[in-house]
């Protein structure tokens, strides 16, 4: 798909000799990016698609229970995880829109998960959930005298924890974006509605939401596309385990790659394209206006 798109859209430099000097410079200055794009996007994607051409790969994928599980996990991650995250972000953007000095300070702290790299914090959570030595189970033991569950050994819990880690990391970013949208709403509208005696729900329903829904939906779709590529949250927390039951498509592709099954890796990615491309198309329409 990338190939057909770039082939049809590729600029055909009009090599008429009457190019003005600025246009010559334009081509020269554009060249570095074009080179990067050809060498590290067009060629790899084309090569990858060529590798994924054999129907046998798709049969192998279809017969691999790990693939089906990863596809389901990815759907859960996107549909449930992202929507929960965006709803919380929408709610918190209202909270951070309140003008209070302490809320300003809190917003500075709140952005920390986004500002720090994800690897150390994910590993930190991983150890917290360690069944023997982690602080969670030690606290459970202290207060109840019982051993806590082996958190990451239950696929459902482990996946939920991976979603939790993802939310922890990216919630601040989306809250900030939605906050910007919220602050752009004219204050007069709220004052007028106060005069009319509207309650908070009516204010949200008739003022906030209509002004923010486009932004909200754009953000949700964008977050879904990016989350498809979220390798760290799953890989560093569960490693795809237990028994390869918590893989998502991004970790599965890398798993096949590590097992030297490149055509399977590419085929699994190609299988995701029917979901990715409409989202990408929609986002590109949005952004290139």
């Amino acid at each position: 798909m990338a190939i057909t798109l770039s082939a049809s859209d590729a600029p055909s430099p009009p090599l008429s000799a009457r190019l003005s000097p600025p246009q010559v410079w334009g081509i020269v200055l554009l060249a570095p990016y074009l080179l990067v794009f050809l060498a590290f996007v067009v060629y790899p994607v084309g090569y990858g698609l060529w590798l994924a051409r054999q129907p046998a790969s798709y049969v192998a994928l279809y017969n691999d229970p790990i693939f089906a599980r990863a596809a389901v996990n990815t759907l859960i991650f996107l549909v449930i995880g992202i929507n929960i995250k965006m709803l919380i972000a929408l709610f918190l953007s209202g909270f951070f829109a309140q003008q209070r000095p302490w809320i300003r300070w809190l917003s500075v702290i709140f952005i920390l998960p986004w500002a720090v790299p994800s690897i150390p914090t994910i590993l930190s959570v991983r150890f917290m959930l360690n069944p023997e030595w982690g602080v969670v189970n030690q606290l459970i033991f202290k207060f109840t005298g019982d051993d806590g569950p082996n958190w990451l050994n239950d696929p459902a819990v482990a996946l939920a924890m991976a979603i939790g880690v993802h939310i922890w990391k990216s919630l601040p970013f989306w809250t900030l974006i939605l906050l910007t949208g919220r602050l752009a709403i004219s204050h007069d509208l709220y004052e007028a509605s106060d005069v009319d005696g509207a309650n908070w729900w009516q204010k949200f329903r008739y003022i906030t939401w209509p002004s923010m829904q486009t932004l909200y939906i754009t953000c949700t779709l964008l977050s879904m596309i990016w989350t498809l590529g979220d390798f760290n949250s799953v890989y560093l927390l569960t490693g795809g385990g237990p028994a390869d039951l918590t893989h998502v498509l991004s970790t599965l592709g890398i798993r096949y790659l590590r097992l030297d099954q490149l055509s399977l890796a590419m085929a699994s990615i190609v299988c995701a394209m029917p979901f990715v491309l409409p989202l990408v198309y929609f986002m590109m329409k949005r952004l290139s206006r």
């Binding site: 709140f110 590529g229 498509l249």
Partner: protein
């Protein structure tokens, strides 16, 4: 002084009821990491909320590379730094040139290039990693820092170009016309007019690229493998290879690794918020 009304107290209490959980939720993993970093081994594994004998001994072990997992700490730190700075510089160069060309010089086909770049921006990075890995092998760049640098430039450039293009579309055309009338060549226009005016966006984009490269795990882990070639995040991941990993040292190293990007983020927050959120907000 006016006493707060009951209603105001109620509102404040409701806000606190949201604010306190938000604070706890945000701080837990970071606090846990910090406690580990200042705990001796026995304290770290006993699940204490604050160590009985806080110490900076772990930092000293990391800085003096006194553990098997840490024997290349400084060289890995150096690798991370060099790669991040190289990605920042190269992305800035490639993206500024492209944005200038598309937005100011209106080069034919510029819009198509912009669309291709945007398309790349939306391919999930973990998907591109699979064919990219094989391609780097074909180019003979595996286990070479250039592979990671070029891969990260590929990922950072589309967004950088887009942000810079948006910003430079806002500069008045008259500026270019006036400069050209005064006899400025295209390069002078670029160097003396365009770059100075674009400074805030350039800072934002450069910071974005540097942080992206410093924080990258997946590509670094695929493309580099020798202990003296890898970057810090890969070294952190390698701690997991052993069953009896020294978690207190892992957390200490992680803490050290997390500090520079956090500092950079907060130092350039002004630019980051203005330049980068604009991207997603436009709807």
């Amino acid at each position: 002084m006016k006493l707060p009304t009951l209603r105001e107290v109620g509102t404040e209490a409701k806000l606190l009821l949201i604010g306190i959980p938000v604070f706890i939720w945000t701080m837990i993993p970071i606090y846990h990491m910090f406690v580990f970093a200042i705990s001796p081994k026995e304290d770290a594994f006993s699940g204490k909320l604050w160590p009985t004998h806080p110490t900076f001994h772990n930092f000293s072990i990391v800085f003096h590379q006194q553990h098997y997992f840490l024997r290349d700490f400084w060289i890995q730190f150096w690798n991370s730094t060099v790669i991040a700075l190289a990605v920042g510089a190269l992305t800035l160069f490639v993206a500024t040139a492209a944005a200038f060309s598309i937005s100011r010089l209106r080069v034919p086909g510029g819009r198509a290039v912009m669309n291709m770049a945007l398309f790349t921006y939306f391919i999930p990075a973990a998907f591109l990693a699979v064919p990219m890995y094989r391609t780097m092998g074909t180019y003979g760049l595996l286990n070479n820092h250039w592979s990671l640098i070029l891969a990260m430039v590929t990922i950072a450039a589309p967004y950088a170009i887009w942000v810079l293009k948006q910003a430079s579309d806002k500069l008045p055309v008259e500026l270019d016309e006036a400069a050209t009338m005064d006899g400025a060549t295209t390069l002078q226009l670029f160097r003396l007019v365009y770059v100075p005016l674009m400074m805030p966006s350039l800072v934002a984009v450069g910071t974005y690229a540097i942080l992206l490269a410093w924080n990258e795990y997946l590509y670094a882990f695929l493309l580099l493998s020798k202990d003296t070639d890898i970057t810090l995040p890969v070294a952190l991941g390698n701690f997991l290879a052993a069953d009896d990993s020294p978690w207190e040292l892992l957390m200490t190293t992680g803490f050290i690794y997390a500090l520079p990007p956090a500092a950079v983020y907060y130092a350039f927050k002004r630019y980051m918020v203005g330049g980068l959120t604009a991207g997603a907000v436009k709807s």
